[in-house]
């Protein structure tokens, strides 16, 4: 990132001292997801979460959603870990932390729509990776969840410019990526990357954030980036987009990302894409419910945490 625009983005992102309402446990949790062994982590995670009742309660509610596989509300974080495994619970916690980022003030991008898209994409990434051998589902989930964090940066750091870009995308029913590029000269991929680097996210996740609209630019994590790219498109076509109509025909199987993925995963040929799509619809309503009841805009939230 050496262009003048990149420098501006980096400079502005460095100066975001606070993100609205991102819980304090978020960054320690992110760091933990990256390292250390299972045994140490269970207690550590339980300890971290015990500081934050909101996150703990949300985590239990989310864990009991059909999307995550528990039939009943678990009694504690520890019992959730026992039933779902540590990694699943960690990704749920991460989901809840990001869900807290609902601003009290108005964003250019409807926060609930943004949130449904992120959660939806995370679910589809995981479901997708279940069909591919040797792809870590929870990592794919995390990649899907975080792929668009650049939009958060846009809303916070470039509110005016991004509002104009958003309006144009809605009016012309075209993709945000396109109007961002035309209107600002950069996109959520660059701003997201700057934040991801500031947060010291894993290299693979940084690539997903930076390259999910241009898979060919990815160097270290092409298959993961491809999974996110395809899931992103599919979500936008199945009612989990940014809350407006996108005039677009999507041919997933002719997409370069599909070809990239097929090179390493011949099993992709066996995927019945129509059925995959219909099955995704089963999750859409639950995602709407979950976002509305658990992460819905809460009036007067002023809590902030340093990032």
């Amino acid at each position: 990132m050496t262009t003048p625009i990149a420098a501006t983005i980096q400079e502005r992102v460095q100066h975001i001292e606070t993100m609205p309402a991102i819980p304090a446990v978020f960054l320690p949790l992110l760091k933990m997801l990256g390292n250390s062994s299972e045994e140490v982590k269970v207690d550590e995670v339980v300890r971290l979460v015990s500081y934050d009742n909101t996150i703990a309660a949300q985590c239990l509610r989310v864990a009991s959603s059909p999307l995550f596989g528990l039939a009943q509300l678990p009694k504690s974080i520890k019992s959730a870990v026992i039933s779902l495994g540590l990694r699943r619970v960690e990704t749920i916690l991460l989901t809840c932390c990001l869900g807290q980022a609902f601003p009290a003030e108005k964003w250019a991008l409807d926060p609930e729509a943004f949130w449904r898209h992120s959660l939806g994409c995370a679910m589809v990434c995981r479901k997708f990776s279940e069909r591919l051998s040797g792809v870590d589902g929870e990592k794919a989930y995390m990649a899907g969840l975080l792929h668009d964090i650049g939009f958060m940066v846009n809303c916070l750091v470039f509110p005016k410019e991004f509002a104009a870009v958003m309006k144009r995308a809605c009016d012309e029913e075209v993709s945000l990526y396109e109007t961002e590029f035309q209107g600002m000269g950069f996109t959520h991929c660059e701003t997201g990357r700057a934040l991801a680097e500031k947060w010291k996210l894993a290299d693979e996740i940084v690539e997903v954030i930076a390259c999910h609209h241009s898979v060919e630019l990815s160097q270290k994590a092409q298959p993961l980036v491809a999974v996110v790219h395809l899931s992103d498109l599919l979500c936008r076509m199945r009612g989990l987009g940014y809350g407006y109509y996108e005039r677009q025909m999507v041919d997933l199987m002719s997409d370069p990302a599909w070809t990239v993925l097929l090179k390493e995963h011949r099993e992709l040929e066996g995927v019945d894409l129509a059925r995959f799509t219909f099955e995704l619809d089963e999750s859409v309503e639950e995602i709407h419910t979950l976002v509305a009841t658990v992460f819905g805009a809460k009036p007067g939230k002023t809590q902030t945490a340093a990032v």
Partner: protein, 306 residues
């Protein structure tokens, strides 16, 4: 991590037991039946629509005087009578799917994405003609819906274009009803006031389609398995075939789909019912997505995807 204690204190009570929905309990036999139905017909009832399948099975259980879903499963899978019963069930679960303006996402895709594409591609041709085929049009709801939507574009995108809609069905009686174009409350339940006022006249307590809409459509009896006649259905830009292929067995289904592919122009689209798919019966069509709907595309010559 400076304000951990503050966030704890400010934590709102988010979880109310009443809000937690108990997971719906669906008899696993119905999921088995869903998979069977998908395998033979390509129709997939997602969980939120599974009740349609359960209701359909319920009516069949009653008709057959069966008591349990397991008994019905045996009926569906054991010879003799297996094929006949599957047909009955498919009838039950697709019934009531015909109405005017059945699928708004399909119409949006048509007007917002596909028409501009086709118009752009055909812009150099001398005769500006759009040909649409509603294959298995039943009592006419689909072709009339298409005709009205095309008329809406007649002063815009389709200015100066000729639109021809061909509507065919196997059943003579359906064709007669279709030609009459008279619909009651049920068939018009998804039709907006705007369209009702613009394209219908009152006929007793029902609504009749206006002549200028009918003028766009050619109704004909056609058996989709009649190979010699299928060969003549050339030059289509769009083909709609909703909940018809489900009644064909694998081999004849593939054959009909191949005909459709041949009958379409390059760059043309083939639409099925809302929860219907071709599975893997044809590898020439590209499965494509539009917001809220899927379709099958015969790649255009310029796309390089043939």
């Amino acid at each position: 991590m400076t304000n951990v204690s503050q966030s704890t204190a400010a934590a709102p009570a988010l979880i109310k037991p009443a809000e937690i929905r108990s997971p719906e309990i669906v008899d696993p036999v119905y999921r088995q039946i869903r998979d069977l139905v998908y395998k033979v017909s390509g129709i997939y009832k997602a969980d939120e629509k599974l009740y349609l399948l359960v209701d359909g099975c319920g009516r069949r259980l009653k008709a057959l005087s069966l008591k349990t879903s397991k008994e019905y499963w045996d009926q569906l899978t054991a010879q003799p009578g297996r094929d006949g019963e599957l047909r009955h069930l498919l009838n039950e679960i697709t019934i009531g799917e015909t109405c005017l303006f059945r699928s708004q996402p399909q119409l949006d895709a048509l007007r917002k994405v596909i028409l501009p594409q086709i118009v752009a591609e055909k812009t150099k041709q001398v005769t500006k003609r759009l040909r649409i085929w509603s294959a298995g049009c039943s009592t006419g709801e689909e072709p009339y819906t298409l005709a009205m939507n095309m008329l809406e574009e007649s002063e815009g995108l389709l200015k100066g274009w000729t639109v021809e809609i061909l509507a065919t069905d196997l059943n003579d009686r359906s064709i007669e009803t279709a030609k009459a174009g008279v619909y009651g409350d049920y068939a018009t339940r998804s039709t907006t006031e705007y369209f009702k006022r613009k394209y219908f006249v009152a006929d007793d307590k029902k609504l009749q389609v206006r002549p200028e809409v009918k003028k766009l459509i050619n109704f004909n009896r056609l058996n989709l398995q009649d190979d010699s006649r299928m060969l003549f259905m050339k030059g289509m830009d769009l083909i709609f075939c909703c909940n018809v292929l489900i009644y064909f067995d694998g081999a004849s289904k593939s054959k009909v789909i191949n005909h459709f592919f041949t009958n379409l122009n390059f760059g043309g689209y083939f639409f099925l019912g809302t929860s219907e798919s071709l599975m893997k019966l044809n590898d020439q069509f590209h499965l494509v997505h539009f917001p809220g709907t899927i379709a099958y595309w015969k790649p255009s010559l310029s796309s390089g995807k043939l």
